[in-house]
Symmetry: C2
Subunit: 480 residues, 2 copies
């Protein structure tokens, strides 16, 4: 598999092309220091064999913001050094911190915008990024990543909605690029031109008047010119369309652009990967071989291989899929796809972040703060008397499945086969019933379920149940 071929990223030797993108954990304290929960979370990805681990965003400055890692002062370096060392001691995973600057937001819904920054403020941000990346190097990270995506300062400068009238905006693409350009130059000056610094930015803003892949191609070219180690593409996640709940600090993933940023189960897989591929092609056409990473609802091994094998992109970022199962890389590499704890894109993790809770995966055992160890000694769950008793009932516009409880099961995966014979994993549940609300009258569906231990050992498939829904007649669908 192309996924497990090594990749040289500006001198950073990735063992494979699987990346865990920065994900908020809310596991740190408000003090911004690395703690044991943080170490456990990221060492877990190293155990799983991820090629590149991007540590959640850490701030270059001191603005108050709940549980958030900091890299804004030398006092944070020892903890960060420990984090990097613990990961390096675990496996050959490479690790970079994501470095962020953000503007102020208030519970009233007020938020600071880029046009409120003085030129001195901008100069300070340029220096803060340089100092932060120098600290990342000092702490022993393999590189760093600038967070220029979503609702944060660098992204807001890049935005097509940047309201500044001066040469950091002014309605020109070059004006919007000025801050990230200065920062890249200063970072390389302060941290060394040989220290790999990637950039995460939006391929499309997905807001009214926001930029599209047209601008993202130009942004990628500029970043490549300035020596970016890699380009990591995200989308959306903006304040402009955030839904403000009274008394809550606005959360930039509550609007439509937030839907797109972490696409839920109703989105197609790999929903934004074609943007990354377009950006890669554009940058290549100018002679730059900067690796390009795609993210966004990618976790099926075949999809990953399609993206990498075709050369559409160079790195695949798997966020929610690796949260669900950090052992995904090792399992796929060893031909054990069947043991993956598969993300069903229920977005409970997103909801936890949005409600200021520690971010865990609902597929983990109840009460866990981390993914369970890959315990291969666990026996496969057994159906009672080798019979899952999977049964189906057609209701008005849906099909209700029920099956027997399998002792030792932590969850059940539901598979659906459509009448063209395409089998797909459709949901992961902890109960023994599931309702399919996406069925069409006049069509035939087949289902089976499997029971899994908490670390992914699967039972034999259940019996397969087939349901034929009556066609639409007269005044429409009649229940079967």
């Amino acid at each position: 598999m192309k996924a497990f071929e090594p990749l040289n990223v500006a001198g950073m030797a990735l063992a494979n092309r699987i990346m865990v993108p920065a994900m908020v954990t809310r596991l740190s304290g408000d003090d911004g220091f690395v703690n044991q929960n943080i170490i456990d979370r990221y060492v877990r990805y190293a155990q799983g064999g991820t090629g590149l681990i991007v540590i959640e965003a850490m701030a270059v400055h001191h603005v108050k913001s709940g549980p958030l890692l900091r890299i804004s002062d030398d006092k944070f370096v020892p903890g960060l050094t420990d984090l990097a060392r613990r990961i390096h001691d675990t496996s050959d995973s490479k690790v970079v911190p994501q470095i962020i600057h953000f503007l102020k937001v208030a519970k009233s819904g007020w938020r600071q915008t880029v046009d409120m920054l003085s030129r001195d403020d901008i100069d300070r941000i340029v220096e803060e990024f340089g100092d932060a990346v120098a600290r990342a190097r000092e702490a022993g990270f393999d590189g760093a990543e600038l967070h220029s995506a979503h609702a944060y300062t660098l992204s807001s400068f890049l935005s097509r909605t940047n309201p500044r009238k001066d040469d950091y905006g002014g309605g020109t693409l070059e004006g919007r690029l000025r801050l990230i350009s200065r920062i890249m130059q200063n970072v390389r000056r302060k941290a060394g031109g040989d220290f790999p610094v990637g950039v995460r930015y939006n391929a499309d803003e997905f807001i009214k008047g926001g930029y599209t892949v047209n601008d993202a191609k130009a942004i990628g070219l500029r970043l490549a010119e300035l020596g970016a180690a890699y380009l990591s593409l995200s989308v959306g996640g903006k304040f402009e369309d955030a839904v403000h709940s009274p008394g809550q600090v606005p959360y930039p993933y509550t609007g439509y652009s937030g839907d797109r940023c972490m696409p839920g189960d109703w989105y197609p897989p790999m929903t934004h990967a074609h943007y990354a591929a377009e950006i890669k092609a554009h940058v290549r056409s100018y002679g730059y071989d900067t690796p390009v990473a795609a993210t966004g609802k990618i976790s099926d091994p075949d999809d990953v291989e399609r993206l990498l094998g075709s050369g559409m992109v160079d790195i695949v970022g798997i966020a929610r899929g690796l949260l669900a199962d950090p052992d995904w890389p090792n399992k796929v590499r060893h031909g054990e796809r069947d043991r993956i704890v598969r993300c069903d894109y229920c977005n409970v993790c997103k909801h936890l972040d949005g409600t200021h809770m520690r971010v865990i995966c609902t597929l983990w055992p109840q009460g866990s703060l981390q993914a369970p160890a890959d315990d291969r000694s666990q026996a496969a769950p057994q159906w009672p008397n080798a019979d899952a008793s999977l049964a189906a009932r057609a209701q008005d516009g849906s099909i209700l499945l029920r099956w027997a409880k399998a002792p030792g099961a932590a969850r059940y995966d539901v598979y659906r086969c459509d009448d063209l014979g395409n089998v797909s994993f459709v949901d992961a549940v902890k109960v023994t019933r599931w309702e399919d609300k996406d069925v069409l009258a006049g069509r035939r569906y087949r289902y089976h379920v499997r029971a899994y231990t908490k670390s992914g050992t699967g039972s034999a498939p259940s019996n397969t149940i087939q349901v034929e829904l009556p066609a639409v007649h007269g005044d429409g669908f009649s229940s079967g």
Copy 2:
């Protein structure tokens, strides 16, 4: 060209695969009757050789709504008959009316939603659509199109945000499909199964929680099963994210989904055509050969041919491009691409609709209510002393072009060549200056302009001017 091969659409024999999708004109009176301006607008498309003309939405019911055609009563049939006859008398263009039902909206921002409809209301809507399509047949149209896209009743039932709890919603796909399914059946009963009835619907809602192409594939399959003559795909245009201006009736194209519905100049061309192609492939996989139409910022003849020649879609809808130049089909067919009045996607037409003005194209001569006739007797504009004197000045982050006025010119087209040699049409203007705000420091740009008469006779190209912008150094872009 594949574009000019005929296509049989459920018995309706299209001479070519170019369609003008339904576009609001605001040319009718509040009384809902066909008038001379309406006839002139649509006869103009017939003169231009468009294969399929879809007349702007006409209402099946009597709710007040400004200037809007009606098909809600037999009294409208004579006017509609005249409209259809006038088009048929002009060319072999086929013509279908778009048939719409919409819910109430108020200046306060209040709007009626589908959960406020009783089951009797729904039954009435089913009958109204059947009666309306029967009238369309009586009036001599070649078929009809049901409007199930954007912010209107049928689309709101299909929406993933449909809040109804009963079997016309209920959180199931089949529930959301029930109304359009009943309507298709009733329409075919009342208007005859041999009368071609296409459906326009959204490939993606582009709103928070809205449906994606996943559901659009299932919707397309259902419509094919029910005998839809064609599937015409749009996106967005919803009330859910509309920006409400106090004292104004909400306009469903003011939010992000409105940006997507009529993508402006900052969007890539053919930005949603891949959805139509996915839907076509899905419907084909079930054995239906229902023709599929793509729309959305398509007007370049090469793009059109790419979509049709590859079989991605069967029909290409050109809305703003045909508004700018209804002669596009004949000009392309006769190898006169050079004479097309090219839409620059400035969206003044969209703005006129949003502000309740008659919809015209800003590229037409000032004061015109219709596109000018294709007057081939007009001499090409001449540059003074055969010299356009095109000059460029690099400013801070932009390049300003100026050139000489060419007597007889109605507009100027600006062409840009990037440093890879790709030439593109970038804007159409009525003045002799243009500023390029999408340039990158360190890159070379070449420009030329051409002057055009109002019907598309072009001058010789101007001189070519080349600008090399200084690279980013030190603290960023320095002006050239």
